[in-house]
């Protein structure tokens, strides 16, 4: 088990710069998410760490060793891909055993290890199946067992749940979290889904346009975003001029009071515990408010109703943090 350090990594593809001087440290034993929209460079960074892409500049350290020049096969990383990359001509058993047979381990040891892993990923009994006979979720768990079989010092997951349906995705997230608590291997998960990153990871690295916007715990990112990009990416937000307000910080009153603004209810969406209220202020600005179902019921909200809104908490960014797309130092 080892931490991972990237130092000033730059990667260009045919004139397009996927990573600009990216430096980041992934603590040993942590579960870190690389979060960003598509094209932000998060997968490229993961592939550079795995040794599947060669950086144009910069270094990658696993533990204290510089692995920049080392091929993927010698880095001791376990890699899991979005579309499983299952060896479709091999049984589940042979898939999981692959890394061990490459290392020419004794047959009995391989057998023992594979069965241990299949139990860990809850696929015991399916050893003789082929990947085509498994569901997406089962295939991805097989891919995870295959990556863990070689006892990697780091586990790299590239959008591992991206190809699965919502329910299976949720199940596997929770399962991955528990698995990480059991095996403690330094893990990086790439995702574009902020909810997934927040749910699974202890540390989140937010990327945008090949640069790191912020590194922090889910709570830090949500409560004190470094700039507009992070603010808008990690959760829903209302933008009123230069002011940002989270929907759950919008308060609704039936009577006007100090600092409140008149607004009309456009739509009320009930989502079980939560109710979402779409409003339009008297100055024409649209606003989203998040209430508990109970609050919504007390207000007896309905379409066309006039309410008074104020925000309990607002965020305004400095000029430097306002335009994260512009090149900047640091």
């Amino acid at each position: 088990m080892s931490g991972i350090t990237a130092i000033d990594v730059t990667k260009r593809f045919n004139g397009f710069t996927a990573l600009h001087d990216v430096s980041v440290t992934i603590p040993e034993g942590s579960l870190t998410a690389l979060l960003g929209p598509s094209g932000s460079g998060k997968s490229t960074l993961l592939r550079v760490i795995a040794g599947l892409e060669e950086p144009d500049a910069g270094q990658v350290l696993i533990g204290s060793e510089d692995v920049t020049e080392r091929p993927a096969r010698a880095r001791g990383v376990g890699m899991v891909f979005q579309h499983y990359a299952a060896f479709k001509h091999m049984t589940v058993y042979d898939n999981v055993a692959f890394g061990l047979t490459i290392r020419k381990r004794p047959r009995a040891e391989i057998g023992r290890r594979v069965h241990e892993l299949l139990e860990l990923v809850q696929l015991e009994g399916l050893a003789k199946r082929y990947p085509a006979q498994l569901s997406g979720g089962q295939r991805q768990r097989m891919a995870l067992a295959r990556a863990l079989a070689v006892e990697p010092s780091v586990l790299l997951l590239d959008e591992p749940f991206g190809a699965l349906d919502a329910r299976v995705r949720k199940e596997l997230r929770a399962w991955l979290r528990r698995l990480h608590d059991e095996v403690h291997v330094t893990t990086i998960i790439v995702t574009h889904d902020q909810e997934e990153a927040m749910e699974v990871a202890g540390q989140i690295v937010v990327l945008n346009d090949g640069r790191i916007e912020q590194v922090g715990s889910p709570r830090e990112l949500y409560d004190s975003p470094a700039n507009e990009f992070v603010m808008t990416f990690v959760g829903p937000v209302n933008r009123l001029g230069e002011t940002f307000v989270r929907p759950h910080d919008v308060e609704l009153r039936l009577e006007p009071d100090e600092g409140s603004v008149e607004a009309m209810v456009e739509r009320v969406v009930h989502l079980g515990f939560e109710a979402r209220v779409e409003l339009v202020r008297d100055d024409g600005q649209h606003l989203l408010a998040q209430l508990t179902q109970e609050e919504a019921e007390q207000l007896e909200l309905e379409r066309g109703q006039i309410v008074y809104v104020r925000s309990s908490r607002e965020t305004v960014f400095s000029e430097a943090a306002r335009h994260p797309d512009q090149p900047r130092s640091g």
């Binding site: 091929p71 993927a72 880095r75 376990g78 479709k88 001509h89």
Partner: protein
């Protein structure tokens, strides 16, 4: 013509009066017929094998490598299909026959025969493997590499098993075509009995000599053997792709 001359030197056995099965047997066991059949199957097998390797290599280069003129090479692969085989035979004879520009004379030899068959069957394996290689998930190879496999092991254990069914399809077609080829080989091989005469040319010779039953008997045997080989390769291919059936 060497063929006709050789045939006419033997007693002609048209309508020898032997009952069906016996006549069939005596026709297919004639030394010249056996030699032609052995040569046909042997040279076709060698041709299929060379194609398996060269065709896969060409497909690999066309899919995975980048070089100038790739589009032209890709188009030219199909040339043997576009050319009447007799024209191919004539061209080969002009290039690799006596007085050819490369000073390589393989006319009237088994090597010349093989060369002609290789030329006309070249596209089969290339065109069978190319689309499969294009569709092959490169993440499988990356996963294998990250699990510690060297490039040679990645090819042997991941790429090759996934290409094998396509290679076998191409090989089957190449073999079948080589067994039946007439036009491309009739000029360059010289049709020397017991040396360069293949079954298709032998059958033609028998027909010309008026031995219809001899031609028919060898044709039937050739058909049965080819059919058996195709079934065997097809069966192996289906066994190799069993993992795709859910």
């Amino acid at each position: 013509m060497a063929t006709s001359a050789a045939v006419l030197e033997r007693p002609v056995r048209v309508g020898s009066g032997a009952p069906g099965a016996l006549a069939f047997w005596s026709e297919v066991t004639r030394p010249e017929a056996v030699a032609a059949l052995k040569l046909t199957l042997g040279v076709s097998a060698v041709c299929a094998l060379v194609n398996a390797i060269a065709g896969t290599a060409i497909a690999w280069v066309l899919v995975r490598d980048r070089f100038r003129g790739k589009g032209i090479v890709d188009s030219v692969i199909d040339l043997p299909f576009a050319l009447p085989t007799i024209v191919a035979g004539l061209t080969l004879l002009a290039l690799y026959g006596p007085g050819g520009p490369f000073r390589i004379d393989v006319a009237f030899t088994r090597l010349g025969l093989l060369l002609a068959l290789l030329f006309v069957t070249l596209p089969f394996v290339v065109r069978a493997v190319q689309p499969v290689l294009l569709e092959l998930d490169t993440e499988m190879e990356e996963a294998a590499a990250s699990l510690g496999a060297r490039p040679s092991a990645v090819f042997r254990r991941i790429v090759f098993p996934n290409l094998l069914p396509a290679i076998l399809s191409g090989v089957t077609l190449a073999f079948a075509r080589a067994v039946g080829e007439f036009g491309a080989v009739v000029l360059i091989s010289g049709n020397i009995p017991f040396k360069t005469e293949v079954s298709s040319v032998y059958i033609f010779g028998q027909l010309q000599a008026g031995n219809g039953s001899g031609a028919a008997a060898v044709s039937v045997l050739l058909l049965v053997i080819s059919f058996g080989v195709l079934l065997a390769i097809g069966g192996f291919r289906r066994w190799r792709t069993r993992h795709d059936r859910v």
